[in-house]
């Protein structure tokens, strides 16, 4: 079976500055890949390319072995089989129910089906009782849970998470991490987690990649990455010796 997501040699520059300089990896169904690295090395840029929001300057992105480029009609179709949760996600000025239903409405899912799926998704993140409340007025942690439910309800093949628990309290972090692991178990979707929280990468990821200077310096199974890294840069990063 081909990997739901593969990417190779991704390059991207903004304003003349080269952010990514040849990033690549394969992701199996049900696998969680953690991407770690210091701030500003291009982790978010990589996720935007993978979600086909921006085109790479060079490189290729394959979904089930098929190359799809951002901006093409196939890209919209493919984007609808994925979901990206951004750092500090924005909630629409609408109820939690309407926020979670948004992606389903875009896809033309019948109303009766939407109701069932949205309530199940809100229940999944413990927000069933807040279904009628304005989502943009909920607490930061609750909004983040709405954002997760809004993505999970789409049953994506590939889920992309960008610092999705940054600035949240430990209880909300735990709740969201549990929701992600349950979601993976239930749906078998491939997940990319970008985080600067090494403990989170350790808890969630099957494999971890260290992004430095626009490249993956090391991609390894999680235990190996943390216990016995192959590269000196990884050891320096993990020990906090790397100054940025």
């Amino acid at each position: 079976m081909t990997a739901p997501l593969s990417f190779a040699d991704l390059h991207k520059s903004y304003g003349g500055k080269e952010i990514l300089r040849g990033v690549g990896a394969d992701l199996a169904a049900g696998e969680i890949l953690g991407i770690v690295g210091p701030s500003g090395v291009g982790k978010t840029t990589a996720l935007r390319l993978l979600d086909l929001l921006d085109p790479p300057d060079r490189g290729i992105i394959l979904f089930h072995g098929k190359a799809i480029a951002a901006g093409t009609p196939e890209a919209l179709e493919q984007r609808r089989r994925m979901a990206l949760i951004m750092q500090n996600p924005a909630c629409f000025r609408a109820s939690a129910f309407e926020n979670v239903a948004f992606g389903l409405w875009l896809r033309g899912v019948p109303e009766e089906e939407i109701r069932g799926r949205v309530f199940a998704a809100l229940d999944f993140v413990g927000l069933l009782e807040s279904a009628r409340e304005r989502a943009d007025l909920l607490s930061g942690g609750e909004q983040q849970r709405v954002a997760f439910a809004r993505a999970a309800v789409l049953k994506p093949e590939v889920l992309l998470l960008d610092e999705f628990t940054a600035n949240l309290d430990p209880a909300n972090v735990r709740l969201l991490e549990e929701a992600i692991l349950r979601h993976r178990r239930d749906t078998g979707c491939a997940i990319v987690v970008v985080t600067h929280n090494l403990f989170q990468a350790k808890r969630l990821a099957d494999r971890v990649a260290l992004l430095l200077d626009g490249r993956f310096v090391e991609v390894a199974p999680t235990p190996q990455f943390f216990e016995d890294p192959a590269r000196p840069e990884t050891r320096a990063f993990l020990s906090g010796e790397m100054a940025y």
């Binding site: 929001l53 919209l76 984007r79 996600p89 000025r93 789409l154």
Partner: protein, 216 residues
């Protein structure tokens, strides 16, 4: 014609002309405003400035322009709209559209950029995002419609020139006030003024309630 039925007729024409102008001005101004706000293009700032400039467009000048357009010698003279409610609607639509458009631009440009990213990340195409953005800015857009109606119902210069203040045909509350005041019938003028104020108050109260219940 008794004075009650004359008042009712004036109120009816006023509401019809102002309401139709607001509807047409909104149908034109909201999509145009959305387009300007959401689609970067060369000269966008110029278009915005132009829309804002037209806020202060003198109604008598709009009236004169429409008068010249609709007069027998004008390019639209064949329509026969001069001194009719249709001509008044045209003049007021010219005044309302830039207001609705300009305020829609402001409302939509204040929609967070993050929301666009979020909508696209959830699978929206550009058209779906534009609809979402109008929905997101709905309170500001509703306010634009309210201000547009306020302009239309209280306007006097353009409707006087284009409508001619013909009794039972194109006389509206504002032109009736002008006439009664000129004839020193201050009580009648005041009555029309109170009715005008009451209509405006009722309209804004209803819209405000809708804003609170449906839009917020």
């Amino acid at each position: 014609m008794g004075w009650e039925s004359e008042i009712l007729q004036i109120v009816g024409i006023s509401v019809l002309v102002a309401g139709t102008s607001t509807l047409l001005g909104s149908l034109l101004g909201i999509p145009l405003g959305a387009l300007v706000a959401l689609r970067p293009f060369r000269g966008r700032n110029f278009v915005r400035t132009l829309a804002f400039t037209f806020y202060g467009f003198p109604p008598v000048l709009a009236g004169l322009l429409v008068f010249l357009l609709l007069s027998n010698a004008g390019p639209l003279g064949v329509l026969g709209w001069l001194f009719t409610p249709l001509g008044m609607v045209l003049a007021q639509t010219l005044l309302v559209t830039p207001i609705v458009m300009g305020l829609t631009i402001s409302a939509m440009m204040s929609v967070e950029k993050r929301l666009r990213e979020t909508a696209l990340a959830l699978g929206a195409d550009e058209r779906q995002w534009r609809v979402t953005a109008v929905h997101e800015a709905r309170i500001g857009v509703a306010s634009a419609v309210m201000v547009g109606f306020g302009r239309a119902i209280s306007e006097v210069g353009a409707v006087l020139i284009v409508g001619g203040n013909i009794r039972g045909h194109t006389r509206v509350l504002t032109t009736a006030i002008v006439l009664e005041t000129a004839q020193a019938n201050y009580v009648a003028a005041t009555v029309y003024g109170v009715i005008l104020f009451a209509i405006a108050f009722l309209f804004f109260a209803i819209l405000q309630r809708i804003q609170e219940r449906v839009f917020s």
